[in-house]
Symmetry: C2
Subunit: 191 residues, 2 copies
């Protein structure tokens, strides 16, 4: 019973931290707010996360990474054709963006860059995550007959386009920039 | 003499604010730090900027916008060929990125997205700035014979690619992602 309640506290703190970092960004989120939203007892934050905010950020990035990777894989597996599946993935992000809740969210790329400047450990975690997303796009392109070297460059470019377009849609307060970028995917991937 | 010193205070506060927002981001920068770095007298911040941090952010974005626009125009005017000039522009950003000082800077897109969620006035200022950059790319493409509708989409896409690649280079702590994206520009703009 005691073990389970300890695990609950850890999970509640990490959930609250991930949600708040994603909603407000890293700097705007304080440890007190995380603790309050988690409902966990006061001493438990440093008990479970002895390195405090840095450790919470690392765990939060890892958690977001799992969700993002699963979204990418889900889109890429839907169609054999790389161009079509990557385009549909961007259209899906655009469709998600019209949810009011998403409009309030900090794009992962921003959270990543905001925190990457503060700690080498956070930066390394972010780098591993983003490289994984790029790798998924590259592999899909290689399977579709692209040269590995070009596929690697395109993986970085596609991911950058998406991150930039999410930021741009946030500025626009609508999904139009993401939709326009989705329409340009076939131009970029024309053989 | 009095007028000139008043203008100096205003200019010093705005310079310090622009520099600090660009180095640390919006949330991480406090009014006290801006005032301290500016060397301006304590009362002068709210005298010159009655709306405080929001007003400073708006003026800082406008100031960065002028610099970024002039960089884009400078690159685009260098070569008649749109593909070549846009590619060289991204390579120039990559070269700038290897400066140690740039490595510490918050990409404008991040600053923009970080602040755009806090105030409609800041968001509108950011939107106008970014639309101006996209417009410069689109116009260059139209001059090179691209259809206006496609040129508009490509303008948004090119700008998103660049913003995403700056963020990605920050995570990498080197300019390689920007260089890879520069290499993909001819693929995107192949007619």
């Amino acid at each position: 019973m005691k073990v389970s309640s300890k695990n609950d506290s850890r999970e509640n703190i990490l959930s609250a931290a991930t949600r708040l970092f994603h909603l407000q960004g890293y700097h705007a989120t304080g440890l007190n707010q995380i603790l309050k939203e988690s409902g966990a007892p006061k001493g438990s934050l440093y008990y479970h996360f002895p390195n405090g905010k840095e450790q919470l950020a690392i765990e939060a990035v890892k958690r977001m990474d799992v969700l993002i990777k699963s979204d990418i894989v889900c889109s890429l597996e839907k169609y054999e054709n790389a161009v079509e599946s990557i385009q549909i993935h961007v259209q899906k992000i655009a469709a998600d963006f019209t949810n009011d809740e998403k409009l309030e969210c900090v794009p992962i790329g921003i959270l990543v860059a905001e925190t990457a400047q503060m700690s080498e450990l956070i930066r390394e975690t972010c780098k591993t995550a983003v490289e994984g997303w790029e790798e998924l796009y590259s592999s899909k392109l290689i399977k579709n007959g692209f040269e590995p070297e070009i596929a690697r460059k395109l993986g970085v470019t596609i991911n950058s386009m998406i991150e930039g377009a999410v930021t741009r849609s946030l500025i626009n307060k609508d999904s139009q920039p993401l939709q326009l970028v989705a329409e340009c995917i076939p131009l970029l991937l024309k053989k």
